[in-house]
């Protein structure tokens, strides 16, 4: 038995080394089980779809040789400590070209330092919490190998406030959960209200704890204060409890908030009470252009589903792989440090399903996290819940995306 084991081990080492020579080793990490699984699994499946396409076309030619992607998957179960272990494992892996993934900001905070230490290139996707990038600027890191490919909370809160102003509201209520995510979201929104000219008066600021399902008191406070809209930051089925409570007390004002409102645990649990709820999205599962239709159809076919569990995560995973592939091609190397340099200065535009990415990243500047953030306001649209799906809330966004595909413009 021992001999067999040693034999297998030796063979394994030889096999992986032989393998490593002509493949691009890329790790995909995220929660593939548990509460955040819809996001993690959609991201992984979107990314693997892109990888399958690249591999089917023969791979990327690096130094005159066609190289295919070789995927390493790790499930972090949305647990910080698992994320840290996985990051340590990946950081000590031989010949790893890069990492794509992570859904939970806490997992980023726990694990990314190990990757940064070894200079392993990582594209965070789709964790949106501001802290996962600001931690590096606060530490004053000079050379960063961590990039992000997601509409971060700063953009999202700006859009939420902007939407309320555009709808000519003057009095709003802020609702948030007592987690880090909820409280920092409230601060972001208050910041944005100030930045956008103090046009909104916050008439109620209400909090709930994870597990609270009766929101009557908070809603009555908002209602009696005359709130015209509820701006909400939170995660999980409590969001649905807010919508259901509004229906109960006959409060008919729009609910506008962060992107967790697009997730199935809100959409399904709120049912028809969720109709009209607005949230920022980077991708909407509507086949409005041939490119988007091809992606949606391919996803449905490959994974045998009628609806992508988290379209935003899937599309971001898909585009992140194409951007990574473009960096490999430009670097003409599978060395993770060379790929990082290429990512910071991508010469060719990358055609993705969300947008055409023109120079998405630039050289890291600790004073400006946006250098390693790919998304700007232009790549983000407002989504709206309608009968169990998320659709475009404004036709203008839809038209803009159709136009963008025919005439890509830089940012």
């Amino acid at each position: 038995m021992k001999k067999v084991l040693i034999g297998a081990l030796v063979f394994g080492i030889i096999a992986t080394q032989a393998f490593a020579a002509d493949t691009i080793k890329i790790a995909i990490t995220g929660p593939f089980s548990g509460g955040s699984a819809p996001m993690g699994a959609s991201m992984r499946d979107g990314a693997k779809l892109a990888i399958a396409e690249i591999n089917a076309a023969g791979g990327i030619s690096v130094g005159g040789k066609k190289m295919k992607f070789d995927v390493i998957e790790r499930d972090d179960e949305a647990k910080n400590e698992r994320g840290a272990l996985i990051a340590q494992e990946l950081a000590s892996m031989n010949g790893l070209s890069g990492v794509i993934g992570t859904v939970n900001t806490g997992v980023c905070m726990a694990g990314d330092k190990h990757l940064q230490e070894k200079g392993i290139t990582k594209i965070i996707c789709p964790a949106a919490g501001s802290a996962s990038m600001t931690q590096w600027s606060k530490a004053g890191v000079k050379d960063l190998s961590i990039f992000r490919f997601a509409a971060h909370d700063g953009i999202q809160s700006a859009m939420v406030v902007e939407e309320a102003i555009n709808r000519k509201f003057t009095k709003v209520a802020l609702f948030y959960d007592s987690t880090n995510y909820g409280v920092s979201g409230r601060d972001d929104m208050l910041d944005q209200i100030k930045k956008q000219g103090n046009k909104l008066e916050v008439v109620a600021s209400e909090k709930w704890n994870i597990g609270d399902k009766d929101m009557t008191a908070q809603l009555l406070r908002a209602k009696s204060a005359g709130a015209q809209a509820i701006l909400i930051w939170g995660i999980g089925p409590e969001l649905a409890a807010v919508s259901n409570g509004m229906a109960k007390i006959g409060m008919k004002v729009p609910l506008i908030g962060g992107w967790p409102l697009s997730m199935s645990n809100y959409v399904e649990n709120a049912g028809k009470n969720g109709n009209g709820t607005l949230m920022p999205q980077t991708f909407i599962e509507e086949p409005i252009t041939p490119r988007i239709k091809a992606f949606i159809d391919a996803y449905h076919k490959a994974y045998n589903v009628k609806q992508i569990p988290s379209p935003v995560s899937a599309a971001q995973g898909y585009d992140a792989v194409y951007i990574f592939a473009a960096a490999v091609k430009q670097a003409q190397s599978t060395d993770t440090k060379k790929i990082k340099e290429a990512l910071e200065d991508l010469k060719e535009p990358v055609k993705g399903v969300i947008a055409t990415w023109v120079h998405p990243y630039s050289k890291w500047d600790p004073a400006n996290e946006e250098t390693h953030e790919a998304f700007r306001r232009e790549q983000t649209v407002m989504g709206m819940v309608k009968d169990g799906r998320v659709v475009f809330s404004s036709n203008a966004d839809r038209q803009r995306i159709i136009k963008d595909e025919t005439a890509p413009k830089g940012k």
């Binding site: 209400e206 709930w208 908070q218 406070r221 999980g236 109960k248 645990n265 649990n269």
Partner: protein
């Protein structure tokens, strides 16, 4: 704030409070016969709710699911009694405290592995439009909670007072040794009380799930509140828990309205401390003299 607004707060809170009361009632059932309680009662609520949801998903009609779900709850209650309580009681040890907590943790991870960590909607045949009663909007699900809680508790109290087995129940609560001497099997009665307690937990799960959705953490919040209710009311009081439950529920709503939503949990905890300091046997509890 108008009078109808205050009424709305009180009614909504009281209806949530009834669910705390039902879970607390599960505590008092087993406490009265064996002076032991299942610290994993919240997991029992969650587990039976998940089982009932699974029954619905395989096509069992709602009205058949309710008795089946209650049956599952009763079986789970019996399992808890056999696995965690009986031996400890026979040895007159307090081992049941740790054992019921451990069983609860085990049940929690089993549920997580079978059904996942997602919260899921629990279908209900009731309409979702709320009705107006004297300016207070109440959803049909909330009405079903009130009806269900009173029906279950009424039936069990009636059973304890009228049926022969029920009288055995009362006898064991009054004096275990004397009841044994009169030919009442205390072990069987304790088993019965755990089965009833499990059934009550299942009922709470079925009633509250359409409002709260079902997830592994369904019971965790409920059980803490229920524990406060049981202690404040007195662990051996039957209908006392209803009154305390409703008061606690309304107090919570009123506090989060007038003081702030961050203070929602405060009244329950303050009441718990007050009760333990001033009246350790509970507001409705009987002060018993322990003869040495």
């Amino acid at each position: 704030m108008s009078a109808s607004g205050i009424a709305q707060l009180i009614v909504s809170g009281a209806l949530m409070g009834l669910v705390y009361a039902l879970v607390a009632y599960g505590f008092s059932l087993t406490y009265s016969t064996s002076k032991s309680i299942n610290f994993g009662q919240g997991v029992l609520v969650m587990f039976s709710a998940f089982c009932s949801l699974t029954l619905l998903n395989v096509g069992v009609p709602y009205w058949l699911m309710v008795p089946l779900g209650l049956g599952i709850g009763a079986l789970l209650g019996l399992f808890v009694e056999r696995a965690a309580v009986r031996l400890a009681l026979e040895q007159k040890s307090e081992g049941w405290i740790l054992l019921t907590i451990i069983l609860g943790l085990l049940g929690f991870s089993v549920a997580e592995n079978i059904w996942g960590r997602d919260d899921r909607p629990f279908p209900t045949p009731l309409p979702t439009e709320s009705v107006q009663i004297l300016g207070v909007s109440i959803s049909p699900m909330e009405i079903s909670v009130a009806v269900g809680v009173f029906a279950v508790m009424g039936l069990i109290e009636l059973f304890k007072r009228k049926a022969l087995l029920g009288k055995a129940f009362e006898a064991v609560s009054a004096d275990r040794d004397a009841a044994e001497l009169m030919g009442v099997s205390a072990t069987r009665t304790v088993m019965l009380s755990y089965a009833l307690s499990g059934g009550v937990a299942a009922m709470a799960g079925i009633l509250v799930s359409p409002i709260t959705t079902v997830g592994p953490t369904l019971g965790s919040v409920l059980v803490l509140k229920a524990f406060s209710v049981a202690v404040v009311a007195g662990l051996d009081s039957g209908f006392g828990v209803v009154l305390v439950g409703m008061c606690l529920g309304s107090l919570e709503s009123l506090t989060s309205f007038y003081v702030g939503s961050g203070w929602r949990e405060a009244p329950g905890l303050v009441l718990l401390i007050l009760a333990l300091a001033v009246r350790p046997t509970g507001v409705f509890g009987k002060a018993t003299i322990r003869k040495v």
